[in-house]
Structures are given as C-alpha cells and as structure tokens.
C-alpha cells in the first residue's frame, strides 16, 4: 500500500535494484511508524470498564514485512508493465475481433441475465445475488441521470432509495394496497422528494451541491430513525406483504400461482418472479434513459453538464433542466427502493446510510459516467466482488475501500472511458471522456 505512494520518478530501463530496495525500506519504515500503535498495541475495555492493553509485535512485524515485500513487488510490476513510452501495436484483426465482441456484449449479457433463473434455478444464493446486483444496476442507472448526464454531483442519492422503500412499506402495511398500486406511488413520492431537494440547490455548484445533497440524505435517514410513530424508528417496518403477480399471490395456498398452473409449489417461484420483476424495471429504466437522451430535455441535461453558462446563454431553462434530472433520477431510485423492500420483507434505517450513496456513486463513476453498459458492468463487479469477500466479515469493507482507491488510481475515468456523443455533426466520433469535465456542477 505504502509502496504505491512514491510515483514521482519515472521507471528506468534496467532494474535498479538499489533504488527499489531503498524505496521498499522507506515504505516499510513508514509502515512501522504508522502501525506501531494501531496494530502493535491492542486496547480493550475490561469487564469492569477499565481499559487494558496488550502488545502484538508479531502482527506488527508481519504487516511491516508485507509492506516491504509488497513495495518491491509493486515496483517490479510497475517496471515491467509501467507507463514506459511504448505504443502497443494491436493487429487489425484483433481490433476487429474486439469491436465485434464489444457489439455482441450487450445482447449476450441481456440473454444471459434473462436465463439466470433458468440456469441457476436451484441455487437460491445466486438468484438472491442476481436480484441484489440488478437493484444496484437500477440505482446506478438512476443516479447516472443526475451525475452522468446532468453533471449534478449527488451524494445523497440513498435518500430517494429510502423514500421509495419506506413509502412502499408504509402504504402496503397501513392501507394494505397491492404492490402494483404502491410501486408507482413510491416512484412518484421519490420524484417529489427529488424536486424538494432540487429547489434549494438550484443556485449551488460543485462541492456546495455535494454537501447539501449529503446533508439531505442524512436528514432523511435521521427523520426515518427518529420519527418512531410513523416509521417504527430503529426497529423499522416488518411484515411487508410480498408482491403478487397481478393479483395472483405466489403462495402455497389454493388460489396461489402454483395451484392455478397445476405445478408443485416452490418458494423459488417468488424469487424468480422478483428477479424478472426487477430485471424488467431495470430494462424500463435503461430504455427510458436512452429515449430521454434523445428528447430536448436529455440534450439539455448533457448541455448543462458540459457548461452551465453556455446553457443559459442559449436560452435553456436551467431550473427545469435541473429539477427534471433530480426528479427522474429520484423516481428510478424510488422504484429500486420498492423492489428492495419486497425482496427483504423488512426495512430499517440501517439500510440507507451514506455508505450506500457512496457505493452507488462509485458504481456510476467506475462505469464511466454516462455509459449505461459501464454502469451495469461496474455494479456487477462491485457487488459481486463485495459478495466474494462475505466470508471475511471484518475485512470486507477494508478490502472494498482499498479496491475503490486502487480502481480510481488505475482507471480514474471508469471502466468504460469512452462514449459516443448523442448528437454529432456529419460523422460520429468517439469522445474520450478526458475531454469532458463531468460533474463540474
């Protein structure tokens, strides 16, 4: 970790052993000082409330050794793969194959996703994971409208997710309304909150916008946590009704779907149904986004992202542009929230912390801001990767944080760093996103 620090000097041609060792020694020394107290000494409150401590010099030595070796390995890797000024010659056949693979990727992914419940019918875990990934894909696409298209940095996106989830949960438990009635309402309420957030931030730019959205997200979470009579406070809302297939419940009873179709009941039916439900909603989100980008409002969003002043000068109403971006992004967040609730059957404010906002933002930025495919891939990579480390309960977030830092250093522009402009003059030319200042608010 520490080794990655020293990037100042360019790699030379030959392996400079003395230089690498010197760097590794410095890294190890820094690590020794950094970890000396935090790892070398462990504190714990005893049963009588008295603090005690014991030393763990073995762990400390292991960490320092890891840093030393890691530093050498990173230096060597950088030497071999590093940014030496070489032009990688790619044969035209390979380029052609790559572009074909690129075009085939979307249909293949779609078909694969469609077939997931068929292939993994007996693997409940994979189906659940699939639903989770699709929820985040949907959240990512929703936030993409705000951050990727309109360039408004939103750090409180989780608020709309929460509003959608809670409105579904409360409407369904209080009034007993069906899923199909509550889902649009959850979206509308979330959109309303999007406008509510949009108004105060109309004049704000950049980081002021970021902090206000973050504050908004925290306000929503704190209200949900403390308004006990409505939301049940930290205990959350439980006993949320499961969705029905247009009125047909997915239960083992006589009027259930299985009985109607004359097949044996299995709890997996519900999971499969949920999977297709959220898959369908995600596709609608994607379709709506693609269509919106071709409408004047979508063009206005992209214009707003590139330059707000020019936007005004051209007579684009920035107020409605910003508000619609917030509202539509929030609406999709609300849909995702409603889906999340039906899957869980229970919600509490714990699910809507800043961590979620950061995760969704990471998905959007890693996805390359504005690229629909990139967002989907980033959601798969992050959520899937996150699940891989489920066994390492404690270390999971640590690894996640490190991965976020490393990914940013490796590909600051996201996994898909190029995208085609929606409007072009005469011929379509891919714009490197380096030329575009996204998120400048």
């Amino acid at each position: 970790m520490v080794a990655a620090a020293s990037t100042s000097s360019k790699p030379t041609r030959g392996v400079d052993a003395a230089f690498i060792v010197k760097k590794a020694v410095i890294s190890a020394l820094v690590a020794l000082v950094l970890f000396s107290l935090m790892i070398g000494v462990r504190t714990e409150a005893g049963s009588d409330g008295q603090l005690t401590y014991w030393t763990r010099f073995g762990d400390l030595a292991a960490m320092v050794a890891t840093v030393f070796v890691g530093s050498i390995v990173i230096e060597l890797l950088r030497h071999w793969w590093g940014p030496v000024e070489t032009v990688r010659v790619v044969p035209p056949s390979a380029t052609k194959a790559l572009s074909f693979a690129g075009r085939a990727l979307v249909p293949v992914l779609l078909i694969f996703t469609f077939l997931v419940p068929v292939i993994f019918y007996n693997e409940r875990y994979i189906l659940d994971l699939g639903i989770l990934v699709l929820t985040y894909v949907m959240l990512g696409w929703g936030l993409n409208i705000v951050v990727g298209l309109a360039g408004l940095l939103d750090l409180g996106y989780v608020a709309f997710y929460a509003v959608g989830a809670y409105s579904y949960a409360l409407l369904a438990t209080t009034f007993g309304w069906s899923f199909w009635m509550c889902l649009p309402l959850a979206g509308i309420l979330a959109a309303f909150f999007g406008i509510l957030l949009g108004f105060p931030v109309l004049r704000l730019r950049g980081d002021y916008l970021a902090i206000v959205t973050l504050a908004f997200g925290e306000i929503i979470r704190l209200v949900l946590l403390n308004w006990q009579s409505l939301t049940g406070g930290p205990n959350g809302v439980s006993g949320i009704p499961r969705p029905t297939m247009f009125g047909i419940p997915l239960t083992p009873g006589d009027d259930g779907l299985a009985a109607l179709l004359g097949i044996e009941f299995s709890p997996t039916h519900r999971i499969v149904f949920l999977f297709y439900l959220i898959f369908g909603l995600a596709l609608i989100t994607n379709w709506a986004t693609i269509r919106l980008r071709r409408l004047p409002i979508g063009r206005a969003w992209e214009a707003l992202r590139e330059d707000e002043v020019a936007c005004r000068a051209l007579g684009i109403n920035t107020t409605t542009t910003k508000l619609t971006a917030f509202a539509i992004g929030a609406m999709f967040g609300g849909f995702a929230g409603a889906c999340f609730v039906t899957r869980q059957g229970f919600i509490s404010p714990e699910s809507f912390t800043f961590h979620e906002s950061a995760l969704v933002l990471a998905i959007v930025v890693l996805g390359g801001m504005g690229s629909q495919l990139g967002v989907a891939l980033a959601a798969l990579a992050l959520i899937g990767g996150f699940e891989l480390f489920r066994g390492l309960e404690q270390f999971r977030m640590l690894v996640f944080g490190m991965a976020m830092v490393l990914l940013m250093i490796w590909r600051p522009r996201g996994l898909i760093g190029h995208r085609a402009p929606t409007v072009f003059l005469e011929r379509n030319q891919a714009i490197s996103s380096d030329l575009v200042k996204e998120g400048a608010g």
């Binding site: 790892i39 704000l204 490190m402 976020m404 250093i409 200042k437």
Partner: protein, 305 residues
C-alpha cells in the same frame, strides 16, 4: 438565563472541536480543490493514538498529568500527521490532475479503509477512559440552585484551540510555508514556475490538517471520555458542514462555521430534542446556502467564460 449561559459554554467547546477539524477540510479544499472525505477518520485515528499513548504512558508509571498530556499531544500529532501524509501520497497524489470526481471517490474509499482498519486493529467496542482532568469552576449560581459551571477540561479545549489558531494564522500569514500555500491556492502552475515546490506544499497542507485533526481527536477523547472506530464519520460530516457553512476555502470561515454548528447542536438539544440536533444542523446549512450560496465568509466564485 443561566441555563442559556451554560449551553453557550458547552456549544463553544463542541464548536472548537468541530472548528479544528473543519480547518483541515477547508485548507485541503483551498489548495487541492477536493473534498478530503477521509479527514473525519483522520480525526478518529488521532483519538485512538492519543488513547493508546495515554495508556502506555500511565502504565509505565508516569504520574505528572501535564507531562502526560503534553507527550500524548505530541505523539498523536506526529503520528496522525504521518497518516495524513501517507494518505495523500497513496490515494490523492496519483489523481491530482485527473478529473474532479476521481480524488473524491478515492477519498471515500480511503475513509472506508481507515474506519475498518481501526475496527479490525482495535475492535468494534467503544473504548472508555476515566476522566483525566477533573474539577472546574462555578461561574454563577442562581437563586433556584442552578449553577453555571465551566470545567477545567472545557477551559483547556478552548485555550488549546485559541493558541493553535493563533499559531496557524501566523503560519499562513507570515512564514515561507504559508506564503507557498497561498501561492498554490491561487495558481499552482505559476507557483511552481516561481520556485514553489508544489508537491511539498500540498503534502505539508495534509500534514498540518491531520495534526490539527489529531488535536481535535485528543480533545474529544478528554472531553467525552471515549473513542470508537465510527466516530470519524459523523464528526467529519459535521466539520465539513461547518467548513461549507463558513465558506469553504476560508480559514476564519471554518472556525466560525465550527462554532456555529457546535452552538446550534447544543442549543437545539437543550431546548428542543436531542434526536433532531443533527437534522437542525444540516437544515440550517441548507437554509444558509440557499441565501448565501458561497457560505458566510466565502468568496463568490467568478466564472470566466
């Protein structure tokens, strides 16, 4: 009236702690133009290091409280500063000329790393310390027996903050480093052409910010008597709110914002409800920004076309 006076004292102390953290945010923002999300966790690390140093010093038999406090202060400032330096080297420097969101996300990642690092290294349970500095003064006692008190630890927090602020203002206004910092803030390329070592100046900014956060962490430890691995998040957000409220990039603004947030929080819990104190602080931030989009003391951003 006495109740109000007491709450004002409490708010002032809390505000001083927020202000010290907010300075780190505002300094980094002024020079690098990024939100250092990991700064709240630096504050938490500072608190932990202070706690561990304190335990070790007590267990090797030191008894002179002032000496212990001084040593704890120095060790935690030095180590936390090294944390700040390392984080800048690893997570921010490679991204300095990247697009705006990249360093911010890297900072969010770093914040997760630090939070979970201390959870893994020191356990998830809250670490309490017995009150180290006790005693205080009764300033005024009203007829119905309510006494306005100021404890010694409160005095220490406020005095330390004032002294550090004075030192810091001197550093920025009068020293070579301060001049370099102001130069980098205005125009990094020009500064580097005129012989300012931009990399070193930015590193030093992080080091100073982290050292101030360490002081805040130690004050928090002394004042509240506990640290836990999650305290950096809330404190960080509050301090950042303070920095924005005062006008990000402005040093007096950060301190003013810190004091305001501290006062709002204390007064709200005293007169309304404790549950909604954070909601109050954030709402006031939003209201202020609606009417003054660049904060209280911030310079209006002039956009050149």
């Amino acid at each position: 009236m006495d109740y109000l006076a007491q709450q004002l004292i409490n708010g002032l102390v809390l505000g001083s702690i927020y202000g010290l953290i907010a300075i780190g945010y505002t300094m980094v923002y002024g020079i690098v133009g990024m939100i250092n999300f990991a700064h709240g966790d630096i504050f938490m690390i500072g608190g932990f290091i202070a706690l561990i140093t304190f335990l070790i010093l007590v267990s090797i038999g030191l008894t002179a409280i002032p000496l212990i406090l001084l040593l704890v202060l120095l060790v935690s400032m030095a180590l936390t500063a090294l944390y700040g330096w390392t984080i800048e080297r690893i997570a921010y420097r490679p991204l300095r000329h990247s697009f705006r969101l990249a360093p911010m996300l890297s900072a969010i990642g770093m914040s997760f790393v630090l939070t979970n690092f201390s959870q893994v290294a020191q356990g998830a349970r809250v670490k309490p310390v017995p009150p180290i500095i006790t005693g205080g003064y009764t300033l005024h006692e009203s007829a119905d027996g309510f006494a306005v008190r100021i404890s010694n630890i409160q005095i220490i927090v406020v005095i330390t903050t004032v002294v550090l602020l004075a030192l810091f203002t001197y550093l920025v206004a009068r020293t070579r480093l301060g001049r370099d910092m102001r130069a980098c803030e205005q125009d990094q390329k020009m500064a580097s052409l005129l012989g300012v070592d931009v990399d070193r100046t930015i590193s030093m900014t992080f080091v100073i910010g982290a050292a101030l956060a360490a002081v805040a962490g130690m004050m928090y430890l002394l004042y509240y008597g506990l640290v836990d691995f999650f305290m950096g998040f809330v404190a960080g957000i509050k301090a950042f709110t303070a920095a924005v409220l005062g006008g990000i990039g402005s040093l007096p603004g950060a301190m003013l914002g810190g004091l305001l947030i501290g006062l709002i929080e204390t007064l709200w819990s005293a007169y309304f409800s404790t549950e909604y104190k954070d909601v109050a602080a954030f709402s006031i931030l939003i209201v202020v920004l609606i009417f003054m989009p660049t904060g209280l003391l911030g310079r209006p951003e002039v956009e050149k076309v």
